[in-house]
Symmetry: C3
Subunit: 324 residues, 3 copies
């Protein structure tokens, strides 16, 4: 792979000599700033592949990527699946429905068995925080965390950070608001970790019941008013509302939530002109975001999806190199 010339030369770029050594990608917590940037740079090289007429490179030909989804996920699963096949890997899908999980087998035994079939990389989503880390220690294959409990969702944060760097040309000094249910969001956690490491500032925004005060230990500010931060941020990342949580007493009513934390045209008008509106999807139109904002020029929601493929190609490629 040839590395493209970097669009800027700030410290959020690595030089060509960096060597990736991790067999797993578990979270942004353990990555150095240089490692994160190396993933972003590698993703940039892969972005070009998806614009070709024949969208395939032979990088992982004859390798097997097993997708182990102990929790449902359509779009993350599809994104990893496409990333793997764009690298010419074979994919093997395991979802916990109708599987040996129902027969009482442990997650580790399931993974060990699948590894014994000759799998090179596991992509794992699990409802228990830390499940991918446990597996990574026990398996010689690579493990990529596709979301574990309320812990981390590293590829989502990487694609968010990639998109910010792509649109704003830098990360250093960029101010990002993350809005919503911070307490239960692995997307928020991974974003905060990665953004802080690369020199960005983060303010988390939401009702007091959904923003734990301990989160300031991660180096971010807290605000309970979206209106207060609109003018001062470069990026607003709207978390998805998990409707199933509305039944709990932690959450205001849906209408109240939208009134206080929904992104709409009126609020957008009070933002910086070049503010980026992000959302991990799937969006609830008219709820955390109105259609005119979601589909407007400040939104980069679909760009995030496109970049997600490049990030996942980069991650699969890098971890496979480390285990050679």
């Amino acid at each position: 792979m040839t590395r493209k010339a970097s669009p800027s030369s700030d410290k959020t770029r690595t030089d060509g000599d960096f060597v990736w050594t991790r067999k797993d990608l578990l979270g942004l917590d353990e990555l150095s700033p240089q490692e994160i940037v190396h993933i972003l740079d590698t993703a940039e090289s892969f972005k070009e592949v998806s614009t070709r007429s024949i969208k395939k490179v032979p990088a992982l030909r004859g390798k097997v990527v097993a997708l182990l989804f102990f929790e449902d996920s359509t779009r993350t699963r599809m994104s990893f699946e496409l990333a793997a096949s764009r690298l010419s890997a074979d994919t093997l899908l395991f979802s916990s429905k109708g599987s040996s999980v129902a027969k009482g087998e442990t997650t580790l035994d399931t993974a060990r068995n699948i590894e014994a079939m000759g799998v090179d990389i596991f992509v794992i989503r699990h409802s228990q925080s830390g499940a991918p880390h446990l597996l990574a220690r026990q398996l010689t294959s690579s493990v990529v965390n596709a979301g574990d409990g309320q812990h981390e969702h590293p590829t989502q944060a990487l694609l968010d950070i990639f998109t910010i760097r792509q649109r704003l040309g830098r990360l250093e000094g960029v101010k990002v608001a993350i809005v919503g249910d911070i307490a239960h969001s692995r997307v928020a956690r991974s974003n905060i970790l990665g953004l802080k490491k690369l020199g960005a500032e983060v303010v988390v925004v939401g009702p007091p019941t959904l923003v734990p005060s301990a989160i300031t230990a991660m180096g971010c500010e807290i605000s309970h008013s979206l209106d207060d931060v609109l003018g001062e941020v470069n990026v607003i990342n709207m978390l998805r509302i998990q409707f199933e949580r509305f039944s709990s007493s932690l959450f205001p009513s849906v209408r109240e939530y939208h009134r206080l934390y929904g992104m709409n045209a009126e609020r957008l008008a009070r933002c910086r002109k070049d503010v980026l509106i992000m959302h991990p999807g799937p969006i609830n139109r008219g709820m955390e975001i109105t259609s005119e904002v979601a589909d407007g020029p400040n939104s980069c929601i679909l760009q995030q999806v496109t970049n997600g493929l490049a990030i996942r190609m980069a991650v699969l490629y890098l971890v496979s190199q480390a285990t050679r």
Copy 2:
């Protein structure tokens, strides 16, 4: 691709200069006779591929075909999946169960997101009439309708028409009976549209509650007696009984239906010797058709399935050419 010599030279064949320009295949309603015939001719070229020892051509290598099934379908899904992989495309399956649909995302947002991952062709089945048309207008990728509500199922009609042309050598002047629940059948609608455009005659047969009189506006005759039309038709296409509809008052009892509209050996004896018996499958043996008819020499039910693959290869190939 080399075009094989046409087995006949009637007006249901196109010459080699025809250029396909549609990025989508939504229904037979909007197709010209020449376009329909061009699909049939292209399918004829692809039929040969399936007889090779290595059943693959590189036509769509590096392309991605996403199968979006918002409604269950085993055989149509498998047929499109095989057609795509026989053209060397990668496939990506999305079924609405356990997906973001449950999370409140609109069909359009789901499709836009998947398109952003770099999908070239969408094959869509949806319970709402017109859903594929809506998506086709909004997406730059190609859209192929794999059945929408009670509206159209174009590839099923194309494979039916292909099979008739193959077996009878012509379509002009052929008389086709379509038997069953005409009112709710997208297979019937697409067949009527296509057959009429290519010069065939159609008589729809069924109980008055299931055959709307307005259907004559599509240029077909109506009969409420299968026995009355047996002797005068070249083809009898038995629609599948949807048992879930029998609970409604529109439907006679199952036994009564079979007595009046079931195809059996006794009725077959009163047909033309070379009558074709068709069925879109899956068949209910002993219900709309008896085993001796379904498995007999006049039946072309399995041939329809085989031809379906060639038709779907042709459609995927043609729409992909149009968006280049």
Copy 3:
């Protein structure tokens, strides 16, 4: 394919001139000793493929392997799927959930329809004993039995026998205990058939309610005490406990079962030093086997999984050669 030099020259090896002629693999019942050994030898050649960096051979390129699972199975399905793609075949998955089966179609019609799409090999799991045999007679495609009712599970037995030969270097005179619910186990039946044909001795062990006395007709001994046979066997194959059967009066309590028939360190100490502990998986740790035994040096549980891939590659390859 080059045949590797055999590690031993006993009668459980075939010479290079053997020609496989069966289009189907339905069970070990109908196979000759020479045929079984030929599968094992072919699997040995394929084992090497899985150790390569690019784990693929073009043997079945352009062929289609349809996996028809009328009964749930994660690991057998994944093993066949990987085996097929390692041979470069395309795979097509059909599971009976949400399929035409629900629409009343017969198994034979389902298979015939899928065959009409151009499928070369069917891999079938079915809850009815004999279903694959019925299909094999009606289809021109190859049929591989992936487990039918309480009848046979030939590839599981072949991988078990392959693993014994690999670890002990021979099969002739080897004594194998099969422990558990013999009465309902297709794994037990296929193992007994295969082992006896290759000159091994078999003792089946379990409570009288789960070990039919008629099983001696297959040439094996019966014991109701695991402790009695520990010292005299070379291999102990622990069948999986089907918890769903515990509700029946045939079964002792779970605790009682473990006390009498569970494999643990104390029992292992009374076995031959080189005894092999096998289990078809998924295992219930602490139930039919304790963790220290399952993960210890005598266990070959994960090796069985790895060998399963080679066996399934061999079987798919051989049946595809027979239909050329």
